[in-house]
């Protein structure tokens, strides 16, 4: 007996929701990064789930591209955080309010 597609999709959606919610309410930049990663991995899970249902390797191959992109994003993101931390000794988004928004 195999696990039905809907289980994968529901799990992926829940993870995606937790990630999105986290980005919107958490104020520590590093935790916001982690939430973005969670969203990307939820998308990966959905891709694998659909690929298994469709019996098509295209979706599984896409996951590798997403993983590489996520890694590249983290490299740049942490670079920016380190630059900010050196100047202000903090990584809390609310303290970044030099400009209007």
């Amino acid at each position: 007996m195999s696990i039905p597609l809907s289980w994968f999709i529901i799990l992926a959606t829940v993870l995606f929701g937790i990630g999105a919610f986290g980005v919107l309410i958490r104020r520590n930049v590093l935790i916001m990064f982690m939430c973005v990663e969670l969203m990307l991995n939820a998308a990966n899970l959905a891709l694998v789930g659909f690929a298994r249902e469709l019996k098509d390797v295209g979706g599984e191959a896409t996951v590798f591209f997403v993983l590489v992109v996520a890694a590249a994003e983290v490299v740049v993101g942490l670079g920016i955080v380190v630059a900010i931390f050196r100047r202000r000794r903090s990584a809390v988004a609310d303290e970044l309010s030099e400009m209007g928004g």
């Binding site: 998308a43 959905a46 659909f50 920016i80 630059a83 900010i84 988004a93 400009m99």
Partner: protein
Amino acid sequence: MTNLTMPSISYWALSPILFMLLGGVLLMAVAALSRRALPPVVSTGLTLFAGTGALVFSLIERHHVASSKATTTVAGAIAIDGLSVVIAVTVSCSVLLATCFGHRYLERMHIAGAEYHVLALTSASGAMIMAAANDLVVLFLGLEILSIALYVLVALNRSSAKSEEAALKYFILGGFSSAIFVFGIAFTYGATGSTNLQVIAQSLAASVAAKPGILLVGLALLLVGFCFKVAAVPFHLWTPDVYEGAPTPVTGFMAAVAKTGGFAALIRVLLAGLPTARSTWTPALYAIAIVTLFGGALLMVVQRDVKRMLAYSSINHAGFIFLGILAATSAGVSADLFYLFTYSIAAIGTFGILTMLASENDDDSTIDRYRGLVHNHPVLTGCLAVLVLAQAGVPLTTGFLAKFGVVEAATGTGAIPLAILAMVSAAIAAFAYLRFVLSLYAGTPEEAVSLDLDGATRAPLAGIAVGLTVAVTVFFGIFPATLLDFVRVAADHLLP
């Protein structure tokens, strides 16, 4: 075990993208291997060479597309058609101009080096890949190549706290929107069984979608991802801060290239991949277009900072470009391509002049700072006025024809209310543009301050670039036939 077959790759068709990307890689290698810091002339020269190469090859390619027909390469993942070549031309021009404006600025801010040029070339290749992408995965990769390079470009001015703050905001919201976009790709793939836009279009045309709910979720998430990238209301919140905080030449580059790439991809996904779902996406896009038009125009009026004002102006322009997509006709697409080209030129020119007048640390760009500019810099003020008025849509400039084109395309499909609302928003925005231009000419010569810091306005390369942007804006505003032909042939050769 099956043999792995390599798809046939037409390197000739990819040449504009390869020129950009390999130019960036080569410059990076040269900068890393040279013992002493690379002279700015070398990095600027190499970038101009790569940009010119991409421009020439995309013009030749456009000639081929116009005389034969659209094709795909790399197993259908890359489309070589009118849309991709016209966008390649637009992006190449943007890179050339941004390089000219960056040259003197980088020295002034003490960030001279190859980074700016390498990142600009890389992100430009990302925008060109987005425009050529015929597969959602390739589209995503193009989007990320564009965005990740832009995050670093925004953070480039290390001595400015604003630049870092803008980079972080851009990065968090950009990453958030990318994640939404990937989730949308996953659901679209799940509903249609493919990520290739042609296959998606065929499977949607052949049958009522097997999983309409999943397709709907996928489509909505893709739209949200796109709206973040092109700065449509209500997903525009990052725009003013990022435009204000980014180094000024980067802001101009971002306004042109990110918008061009985002809209090119949106046009292809909606009109080539999901035309059968048109009744689904039209109402959503209609609503977004209206709030984007008015959100941009109304918030523009209350800004005290030029870069923030131009940020809201770019949001208003995004609303106009939606009009062409909503028309979903060949006239709409060619009007959009015309709009993207002329807006790119005018925006880079405007930010380019602001670059030449930038304050010591490039962190003061209030409107009051430019008051009475005409008394010390009459020629530059004239150029700035022309470019700003072009964005406002004043006749005899390309801005007027661009707005006219999309509004005409919208009325052609019966969207009269939308066209009227667009024109009302343009009138509101025109007030803000005019107020800025008038303040440039206000005041007495005695109270005017010279903004020529470190002789920045006597930069020959930037001067030539300003001349070119003004010439293009006025010339094609009076004799638009060549440019209109150029984009029309392209729109006729869009892949189905």
